[in-house]
């Protein structure tokens, strides 16, 4: 069920970013779909399932945009390894903290994607605020949607 919900959220954000927000609201700086690729790693825990889902979502993104295979999936795997290493030192549990962490990891994903470069334009107030706001919104959505599952798993 978690997988189904995640997939539904991902496809909705893909439509939101590429079609609904730019065409209906004239807003082109949304990064929801990238956050949805990364957030399961932080929000649902770094399990093999969340890594596989992230990788599959990356491949779907590549297919939807006509990008070459691996251009997003490989940076995503680097992010998964980074999260794996970071979680040994930091306990990312609070919603606002994993929202902030997701925002940082989106920038890191772009950094890996561009092979160690990132244009200054990505640090403009509009884009930074958008990423943080969207990360908080998604963190809230993930908390509500997956709360029961995580409680059950903890029990």
């Amino acid at each position: 069920m978690t997988g189904l919900k995640l997939t539904a959220i991902f496809f909705f954000t893909l439509l939101l970013d590429g079609l609904i927000l730019p065409a209906l609201f004239g807003f082109e700086e949304s990064l929801f779909s990238f956050l949805v690729i990364i957030m399961p790693l932080i929000c649902l825990g770094l399990t093999s399932r969340s890594v596989v889902f992230g990788m599959v979502f990356s491949i779907i993104y590549e297919l939807a945009k006509g990008l070459d295979f691996g251009v997003l999936a490989v940076p995503f795997l680097f992010i998964a390894i980074t999260v794996f290493l970071v979680q040994r030192f930091l306990d990312i549990k609070r919603a606002y903290f994993f929202a902030l962490a997701s925002a940082v990891f989106v920038y890191l994903l772009f950094f890996f994607y561009n092979r160690g470069e990132l244009a200054a334009g990505y640090f403009s107030p509009v884009i930074v605020l958008t990423v943080i706001t969207e990360a908080l919104v998604l963190a809230a959505i993930f908390n509500v949607t997956f709360e029961k599952n995580s409680n059950r798993r903890n029990v």
Binding site: D17, G18, L19, I20, P22, A23, L24, F25, G26, E28, E29, S30, L31, S33, F34, G45, L46, T47, S48, V51, V52, M55, I59, E62, L63, A64, K65, G66, L67, D68, F69, G70, L72, A73, V74, P75, L77, A80, I81, F84, L109, F110, Y113, N114, A119, G121, Y122, S124, V126, I127
Partner: protein, 263 residues
């Protein structure tokens, strides 16, 4: 929580590498083009519909200011009528001179209609896809404009049935421009969400907020395409150049349907 091992990550890397290998050597890099070809038709239709809805509602919101606007438009219209007469005369003369000198007309090159169906910020600038590709005669370097003569960008890469546009506010976009009223020329560069910056404007160059910026035609782009409006000018006595910001015109027009001019 099952522990993740190095073996697990190695398996995932191997899967991706084999997908890249299969796509490159068995499908000639066509496998990744499959997705956009399937979704381009419905998304292109929806993009135009959504955009029309947005413009309809923005016009409804502005309806209160319409009376004042009509008055000023009437005045402006009278001025324009006299300018049109002058323009027609110049156009006729220009056409005659072009024929005499055997020069090509402005858009003599092939023009193709296309529809935008995805517009999103990605890791490498904006990901803007249109539903025409090499099968329709579109190739990298072609100019993309709107029906209102506004420069939208250039074709970054074209595939069989779709193409990727580099829009004017993309970080890698550059175009030679001039100020319509004064003729001050410079290079406009994309600055993503901040619009565009106009480089090489020295302190003595006349430029002010509200000036219209158009392409000069000395590079790959045709002349007199509207790029945007000067939104901010910052002059510092210590600097040789002025800091000029442009608000791109693509933010104020419909981009669901575009024209591609073959270069």
């Amino acid at each position: 929580m099952p522990r993740l091992s190095l073996k697990f990550f190695c398996v995932l890397f191997a899967i991706i590498i084999s997908m890249v290998f299969i796509d490159r050597y068995f499908f000639g890099k066509k496998l990744t083009q499959f997705g956009p070809v399937i979704i381009k038709k419905p998304l292109s239709y929806l993009f135009v519909k959504f955009e029309n809805t947005r413009f309809f509602f923005s016009n409804v919101v502005k309806i209160g200011d319409s009376v004042k606007e009509i008055e000023s438009l009437k005045e402006e219209n009278l001025k324009l009528i006299s300018q049109v007469a002058e323009y027609e005369d110049t156009k006729e003369e220009n056409s005659f001179l072009r024929k005499t000198l055997n020069l090509a007309t402005r858009f003599n090159n092939k023009v193709t209609y296309a529809g935008v169906y995805q517009f999103q910020l990605g890791p490498n600038g904006y990901e803007v896809l249109i539903n025409k590709g090499t099968n329709h005669g579109v190739s990298a370097g072609d100019t993309v404009i709107s029906e209102d003569n506004v420069l939208i960008g250039g074709i970054k890469r074209s595939y069989d049935d779709f193409s990727r546009i580099m829009v004017v506010n993309d970080q890698d976009f550059k175009v030679a421009v001039k100020i319509l009223s004064s003729g001050t020329a410079g290079i406009a560069k994309g600055a993503m969400s901040q619009g565009m910056y106009l480089d090489l404007i020295v302190s003595s160059d006349p430029i002010k907020e509200g000036d219209v910026v158009v392409s000069t035609g000395i590079d790959f782009f045709p002349p007199s395409l509207v790029v945007g409006v000067v939104s901010h000018v910052e002059a510092n006595e210590a600097d040789v150049f002025k800091k000029v910001k442009i608000r791109p015109a693509i933010g104020e027009i419909k981009i669901g349907r575009v024209l591609i001019i073959k270069n």
